[in-house]
Amino acid sequence: MLVPGLRRLFHWRHLRTVLQIPLLIVSVAMILDGLLGPSLAPKNLATTLSWVHFRGALVLVLLCAGNFFCLACPFMLVRNMARRFFHPRWNWPQRLRNKWLSVGLFALILFCYEEFSLWSSPWWTAWLIVGYFLAILMVDGLFKHASFCKFVCPIGQFNFVASTISPLEVKVRDLDVCDECGTKDCIRGRRAPGPDLVVVQRGCELALFQPLKVGNMDCTFCLDCVHACPHDNIGILSRLPASELMVDPRRSGIGRFSQRTDLAALAIVFSFGALLNAFGMVSPVYALESWLAGILHVNSKAPVLGVLFGLILVLEPAVLLGLAAWLTQTSGGSRRALVPLAVRYTYGLVPLGFGMWLAHYSFHFLTGLYTVVPVAQSAAARLSWTVFGSPRWTWLGIPMRFVQPLEIGFLVLGLAGSLLIIHQLAEGDCAERPLRAFAPWAAVAVVLWVAAMWMMLQPMDMRGTFLAG
């Protein structure tokens, strides 16, 4: 970075650890409060910090900066500490070197969120955090490099897709310097002189070779490449948000977006999952669930949710994207086959999906911004730490009437971003008739946007009980 002071900060070897330690302390506090504290979600650190503050801060940081939450990931701190004492033995299996596992886990997390009403359960939220620690220790305890980050972590996959919109990127300053570099420390790591060639600074564990790296996909902002580069030629640089979605070069460690069906599936779960996650909090969903339960003759939530998830994450994208791809092929004259065409244009929906996540999560974050204060006061009081005073339960956040215009703004910007990306893709794909290629995908984006706007304007109705009322 060229900002004075920040460059030295980001080159500081211990920056990541310094950011991770407080988040690890907070994570432990969340686990303890979730397991031992009040069972009422608004009064518990686990639920308040997870479902109000973490989610909201995450999307806002991704919008304004980049994937800094992966930089400060407390799970990786524990993993790195554990790796000082043991070394993983195996490489991640070749057949799993794709996003299918993480796509499934991402959808599973969304499903469990609804099925177990995670937002209302400090106990289950605490166990989700514990499970995350266990999962990363097991995966990265057995497999080399950052296998958990690249192939497993659902939060990481969300961050990767969302960070394609971010204005900052870890990238090379001058490619000519890389051409002259003979050691390629950014990916191989930097080694101490001597016969043993001990690596004293690891290179990129996610297999992103900096000179050929394009964009933020799969980048955790760990800054290992920055520290490893002997020429100080890598930094956090600004860029045009979402520009990486308009191009399709061969990306180091990833390949071409247009040839990655698994990445497109991740983009679909990201974009359509945004609508699904918000849909679960508005009144009409309960009428729909009751109707589905009647049709299926069931009393439990899981089958109904399964049908809803199948409809919104599988059938709806298949119909909308398939139809748009067919129209682009027939009337736009695209020479791509149907599935590759759908794969290519799917990435155009990411800005709209991100707009939806932003609208939803920022709403809870901003309207409940100050609730962390009384919850923390209450947790401290249970430890007999009365120095923070008695909990101010009336402290809430920014009034809803100021936040709602922001939500609509995020949705409008998301639609604008998607239309821009789709237009660029259409111009590159069907140079003779770009508007005919653009129109079907623009229509899909508008349909999703209308659905998102409708949802935002519905009265909120947050229920964990099934078929109640």
Binding site: L35, L134, V199, S283
Partner: protein, 141 residues
């Protein structure tokens, strides 16, 4: 060539032992439960009207009885309602004693959804009690 991120000499523990340790720790942690509050000798009974509960004002009647069944007069009873989702605005209400041991107040449920009502009781002797009541599925008016 040896790849080693540690510069000092550290023992290398087999991965399996470490993972086993982690699993045992997780198993032990699964036994964690918050401490159970001792049972009180004061019974808190309640009623909410209207039924079903709708968005808007609802009247709560709270009866306090001691172990012998006698009404507990002179207590301070405050009401609080929170949504099941964190970060949403709580609502508060006070009560007044309409008869010995009988307290009446109201709460304004601000939106549809699942709510939890907390009845905060301060007894004449200074002891405090609390009771949680689930009020699921508050419907739009």
């Amino acid at each position: 060539m040896r790849t080693d991120f540690t510069l000092g000499s550290c023992q290398e523990w087999p991965s399996g032992i470490f993972i086993g340790f982690v699993c045992v720790a997780a198993l032990l942690a699964s036994g964690c439960r918050k401490p159970v509050a001792p049972r009180s000798d004061v019974a808190i009974e309640y009623g909410i009207n209207p039924q079903p509960v709708l968005v808007g004002r609802a009247v709560l009647a709270v009866n306090l009885r001691d172990a012998a069944g006698a009404p507990v007069a002179g207590a301070r009873v405050n009401l609080e309602a929170d949504m099941s989702h964190p970060g949403m605005a709580p609502v508060f209400g006070k009560t007044r004693e309409v008869a010995p041991g009988q307290y009446q107040g109201s709460l304004a449920f601000a939106m549809p959804g699942d709510w939890v009502v907390l009845i905060h009781v301060t007894l004449p002797d200074g002891r405090t009690l609390e009771r949680e009541i689930n009020v699921p599925g508050v419907a739009a008016n």
